[in-house]
Assembly symmetry: none
Homo-oligomer: 151 residues x 2
Amino acid sequence: MLPPVRRVILYGLAGGALLALLKFFEYQYFVRAYTSEIYGGLVAVIFSAVGIYFGLHWARARHVVVIKEIRVPEGGSFVLDVEKLKALGITPREHEILGLIAEGLSNREIGERLFVSENTVKTHSSRVFDKLGVGRRVQAVLKGRELGLIP
Amino acid sequence: MLPPVRRVILYGLAGGALLALLKFFEYQYFVRAYTSEIYGGLVAVIFSAVGIYFGLHWARARHVVVIKEIRVPEGGSFVLDVEKLKALGITPREHEILGLIAEGLSNREIGERLFVSENTVKTHSSRVFDKLGVGRRVQAVLKGRELGLIP
DNA sequence: CGGAAAATCACCCGAAAGGAGGACGACCGG
DNA sequence: CCGGTCGTCCTCCTTTCGGGTGATTTTCCG
């Protein structure tokens, strides 16, 4: 998207041009054929549309992040700790592989389930082990569970 | 917020009222005092503002919700299922090895901790795997936890 | 559009794990 | 004494894991 200042200027210029255009037609033709109601309505419709358009765009530009804190009662359902996931820099794919490792699957089985090669699974799992600071998959499962990354 | 349909109707009514109002003033006073450029500009500004307002409002539903979890330390007490242990024919030594496997230790580390050779650990773990009906240590940990053999 | 991040795959190597089979001593109960 | 169980240890073999490096492609975002 364009930066706000330039967008405002463009917006103003477009409005001015439209006004000039309308004024031109008004003096040439419209002023006798139609009342100014049509003129006002036209302007209203066009500027409403433009306003709505930019309103939507401006709203889309700012993505609001709402941090919701949920207390997990004992033995409650598992809630993924997104914060820790980001803090450790674990990607979604790596997290997915970690989950499948925790289910007791071998690298080959994981590859078959995800339709990727065993080598890919090994790459992902290696990175997860690095990020978790462990060297074995059982430890990775333990650590992941402890950190709230897997149920 | 109002439901969309009612909002649109209100919007249309307000627009109509505004037009009527402007028209009234136009015939009374404005038409002679100012050119219709003022009229058009006024309408443009007002409807742009209204359009932007509603555009922002319609788009306000866009939220990125990040769920942050706060973990409450679990006080669940583990009770060993001795019955299942006997039912599966798991010996005390095998059960001990299973516990150490669940801690993420390698066979060599288990051997060092128990002052036995790695081969012995492998024998025990193999037997545990047989009795649990699994083929991998992560699965053994899962099964053991599920059966109440390890915390 | 261009760069960063993510995902994918490959190859090599050493270590770990697992399977199959055998062996030996201790202990315990019939 | 003898069979059964348990714990210990071994060899040989195959598979699996994990680490490292490098590369390509896809995806995302400013």
